[in-house]
Amino acid sequence: MTLQLHQVTKRFGHAVAVDHLSLTIPEKEMFGFLGGNGAGKTTTFRMILGLLDPSGGSISWNNETISYEKSHLIGYLPEERGLYPKLKVKDQLVYLARLRGMEKKSALRQLDSWLDRFHIPEYKEKKVEELSKGNQQKIQFISAVIHKPELLILDEPFSGLDPVNVEQLKKAVIDLKEQGTTIVFSSHRMEHVEELCEHLCILQRGRPVVQGKLKEIKRSFGKKNLRIHADFDVEHVKEVPGVVKYKQTGEGCELQIENESVAQLVFDTLHGKGFVRLFELEEPSLNDIFIEKVGASYE
């Protein structure tokens, strides 16, 4: 039950939105899709869903192409949120669930349990336009998962939510994954991807710049972060060969170094100069990787 994209390309006229993208998204895993604005994330999702036909390449789910006959297996949370403003939450979700092949009764049952889970059962009979934006988003999320899809596509699921709601939603997403749902999601927020995904792909102008397991990506990135807190001026460490970036902080500095061995050199220069309160070697954050890989081409 893997989702496979093989050399997928999408052109709009002369513009290339997605360029020979090949991905394998393993079953029952959470896959993170990263990319700047206009990188081709939403276009890729739309092609996976069959809303757009790829100009080239192929997409398969479980070795079969995705068509409307399979729409009950797929859940989708679009980036642009949208529900019928004038419809009651209940009518709305039952209608959308039935379009995904659910029976009315079981849709209502699922609806109740989801509303309870998000602590909003009182909104069942309310019109969507009367709800706050955050609550509308929860309803939207329910519409994507109410029919227990095997493949769930979430386009920016956490944008526009307060931290409490982000936690609630994250918890729900993790639970779904544990129940065996394959989840693909996109985000601008690196920490969400770092927290949730084992696999990820960073898209840039329709092309994958980084792709694979989170741990391996971090390891192969090579560069590490070094944090130093000291009682004396440490500015001289930026002269050490292998230090890529230097940033002064209140208590010392933060460095990006080419590899682990540079840390030893830095440590040597500090030796004997005074009291070092903190000397910490860190894995690079996804944020660093993203900025490095995507940001570089902006400059």
Partner: protein, 418 residues
């Protein structure tokens, strides 16, 4: 239940329960009932207003004319009472201003031929003055005939209307009754078609535009194919329209039936609806359904192009103009169904439902002409449906500030592979 039916019933029920639909239906029903009772209502008003005959003073020295003039008025069933007024003109004016009389007439005569001047507070309402003028005209003719020594029998012959019959020589040409019957049906068809396209076309475009502007569309098209959605909407709204029209007809029919004694010889005789030909009815249904499908597909397609609800009206304006044009041509065609212009335009698919039906009803057409036009119409609908579905599936993903017909190209491109 498959998705098509779910979407169809959703469209139908949602619209049925909407406030705007209930209000429109209610208001129209009241209008229908009002129209059926129009005669009774109108009589109530005129009854209270003109129940008593109107008093008109007559001044001048020709008092001898008053009696024959009054006779003429009575013959015309005009409830006007003439009264000789002996005072001066100023006094008469005063009397009218005081409301003693409705008006006064100054009668004079030259060589026995009468003439008159009509005075009233207001002369905007010409009912009264016309009654008196007509009566005086009759009187004048009679006096003039008398002066010329014309035998009353001869005079009768001169003034009686000529006997004039029209008979069509072609064997299959419509007879006079058939024509009036067809004209009635064509009228009904034209109006129903016109309003159906305006109302339900609008409804479809709005329905699509609402889903698009609220962005629920993206979820919908990931659940069910845009083509199925488009036709579910078109047919859902068609059923809604059918419900509405049936309601109007049932209520209208009942209202008319209750007023039958008042209405006999009225509209029914004019329309000749009591003796209808089955074939004409079948044509009516065929052309109506095809016409609806054509315009509904167009409306759905146009609705899918807008990203904001406000733009929907603007974009379907051209469609509205086309149907108005068809209506105008049809109105012209009612009097000249065999003119070349009507013949040619009746083959243009957007006009066919109205104009070809008009020609079928009013003329004796060879079947191939009707068949050909229906063929063209069906073909156009199919092409429109295919293009419409393409534009729909592309258009629903397009969001932008512009919403012009140029977007059609962009929408088709979006739904294609390249």
């Amino acid at each position: 239940m498959n998705k098509f039916w779910i979407m169809l019933t959703h469209t139908y029920m949602n619209r049925l329960k909407s406030k705007s639909f209930l209000i429109t239906t209610g208001v129209t029903l009241l209008l229908v009932i009002g129209l059926a009772n129009f005669q009774t209502i109108a009589e109530k008003f005129t009854g209270s207003e003109g129940g008593d005959s109107q008093e008109v003073a007559v001044i001048g020295d020709k008092h001898s004319l008053i009696e024959p003039l009054q006779n003429q008025l009575d013959m015309q069933k005009a409830s006007v009472d003439l009264a000789a007024f002996d005072g001066s003109k100023q006094e008469a004016e005063q009397a009218v201003q005081d409301g003693e009389y409705q008006a006064f007439v100054e009668l004079t005569a030259e060589n026995e031929i009468p003439s008159a001047t009509f005075y009233a507070n207001q002369i905007a309402n010409t009912t009264l003055s016309n009654k008196i003028r007509d009566a005086l005209q009759q009187l004048k003719v009679m006096i003039a005939a008398d002066q010329a020594d014309i035998d009353p029998a001869v005079f009768q012959q001169i003034s009686s209307p000529v006997h004039f019959d029209t008979i069509a020589l072609e064997e299959n040409a419509k007879t006079e009754e058939e024509l009036s019957e067809a004209r009635g049906l064509v009228y009904v068809m034209l109006f129903v078609m016109y309003f159906a396209v305006l109302m339900y076309g609008n409804m479809i475009a709005m329905e699509v535009a609402t889903e698009k502007s609220s962005r629920v569309m993206e979820i919908l098209i990931s659940s069910a194919s845009p083509v199925a959605q488009m036709f579910a909407k078109i047919i859902g709204v068609a059923l809604l329209g059918l419900t509405q029209l049936t309601l109007f007809m049932v209520v209208g029919f009942q209202a008319v039936k209750m007023n039958q004694d008042v209405m006999t010889g009225g509209i029914f005789e004019y329309f000749g609806l009591d003796d209808l030909k089955v074939s004409l009815f079948i044509y009516l249904i065929v052309f109506f359904i095809l016409g609806y499908l054509l315009y509904a597909t167009l409306a759905a397609m146009l609705g899918s192009l807008v990203s904001r609800l406000e733009d929907a009206q603007q974009l379907i304006a051209p469609m509205t103009l086309v149907i108005v044009a068809a209506f105008m041509i049809a109105m012209f065609g009612l009097n000249a169904p065999d003119s070349g212009f009507v013949t040619v335009t009746s083959f243009i698919p957007f006009f066919t439902p109205m104009l070809m039906f008009l020609r079928v009803g009013m003329l004796d057409l060879p079947f191939w002409e009707v068949g050909l036009s229906i063929g063209i119409l069906i073909l156009t609908i199919l092409i429109m449906a295919i293009i419409g579905a393409r534009i729909y599936s592309g258009g629903v993903l397009m969001y932008g500030k512009s919403s012009s017909l140029k977007d059609i190209k962009a929408a088709i491109q979006l739904s294609k592979k390249e």
